[in-house]
């Protein structure tokens, strides 16, 4: 267990008085390593809450720079950060909230060549990406390395959240064996997103990550939480693991990370007619 400084005891006092956390749990948080993929709408609340909670090492993957249109929801960044790499802007904000935290910027796009190396350094991964190729890639890498993954997606007034723990429940490919055809599901850039919806859904991801590290409660394993911000309702849907899943199934056929284009080609190869429309 860490020896807490007086400042740390004060800083984390509201955690430490929770029976489920205590000094032991807070030490676990300080010693833990979490990777956040995407320093955007979801990555912002996740990054802020994990940093404030004292997660000792937080990796951030993002290759973009801060744009004015990000600031309506991406609360890791400020107007003064416009044009700066998001990784660096986010690092300043998070380390500013809590100097106990070391933020490791990964200013790159994840692909089949680098994803296993990046993920390998962390205990838990958070998917806050803004595109399907990265989501499938991160899922596959986490399954292959046995890393717990908090997944969420948002659009307009809606959000989906689930927690993937390889071996204990379904993975993202069990939920959605294939990505939708390109262009069918719009991005937030195309269809919009209420900023606070990103905050609600990302905060759920942060709570799930903290629970996983602490080993408390019931994570959203095998459950997809569907949030409707207009109705202000949550629905919890039980989704089983697919024994035939190509990544986490009983006889996996995808055993190394593949890029989206290859995945699409694979779709064509599996079906009897290879002329898959996309």
């Amino acid at each position: 267990m860490s020896d807490f400084s007086e400042g740390q005891i004060e800083r984390y006092s509201r955690h430490i008085i929770l029976r489920e956390v205590g000094g032991k749990g807070q030490s676990k948080l300080l010693e833990s390593r979490v990777l956040i993929v995407g320093a955007g709408g979801l990555g912002s609340p996740v990054g802020l809450y994990l940093a404030a909670a004292g997660v000792g090492t937080i990796g951030l993957v993002d290759s973009d720079a801060v744009d004015l249109s990000n600031l309506q929801r991406q609360i890791l960044h400020t107007t003064a950060d416009l044009g700066r790499p998001k990784c660096l802007s986010a690092r300043e904000t998070m380390e500013g909230i809590n100097p106990d935290v070391c933020v490791v910027p990964h200013q790159c796009r994840l692909d089949s060549a680098n994803v296993l190396n990046v993920v390998a350094d962390y205990d838990v991964v958070v998917d806050g990406a803004d595109n399907f190729p990265t989501r499938y890639l991160v899922n596959d890498a986490c399954v292959m390395q046995g890393k717990p993954l908090s997944h969420a997606g948002i659009l307009r007034f809606e959000g989906h959240v689930t927690t993937i723990v390889p071996g204990r429940g379904p993975c993202y490919r069990c939920l959605y064996p294939e990505p939708p055809p390109p262009g069918l599901v719009p991005s937030c850039q195309e269809a919009g997103i209420l900023g606070a919806v990103a905050g609600i859904v990302g905060s759920i991801q942060a709570a799930e990550v903290l629970k996983l590290i602490l080993g408390i409660g019931d994570p959203l394993i095998g459950r997809l939480l569907v949030f409707d911000g207009l109705e202000m309702s949550f629905r919890s849907v039980e989704i089983p693991r697919d024994p035939g899943c190509p990544v986490c199934g009983d006889r996996p056929t995808i055993t190394a990370p593949i890029d989206y284009e290859e995945f699409c080609r694979l779709r064509g190869g599996i079906e009897s007619n290879p002329e898959v429309q996309s």
Binding site: G38, G40, G41, L42, G43, D127, G128, A129, D130, N131, F132, R135, A152, G153, I154, L155, R156, E158, G159, H160, L175, Y176, P177, E178, P179, P180, P181, L184, V185, P186, S187, C188, A191, I193, L224, V226, D228, L230, E231, R235, V237, E238, I239, P240, N273, V276, Q277
Partner: protein
Amino acid sequence: MSTNGDLVELRLFGPLREVVGEKLVSVPYAGLTVAEALARFADEQGESVRPMLFDSRGNRLRSLILLLNNQTVDELETSRLRSGDVITVLLPLAGG
């Protein structure tokens, strides 16, 4: 002619809700299988909705989660709908 006894509900989310313009649609589909109901819905809604449910060869998209009364459905081709049933259609969300 439909009567209340025929009605089931389709609960729509995401882009499907956008295109249809409703989050809950009542349709006289009791007696159909879930698969038949989805095909009928695509037929009735037309070309803006069909690509969100089926590919160009008429196969149901594998990027859909279909729920019957909030449970995943193993037997899409054989489970017959009863009056008051709710089918939920979920598409993955890319945004983050």
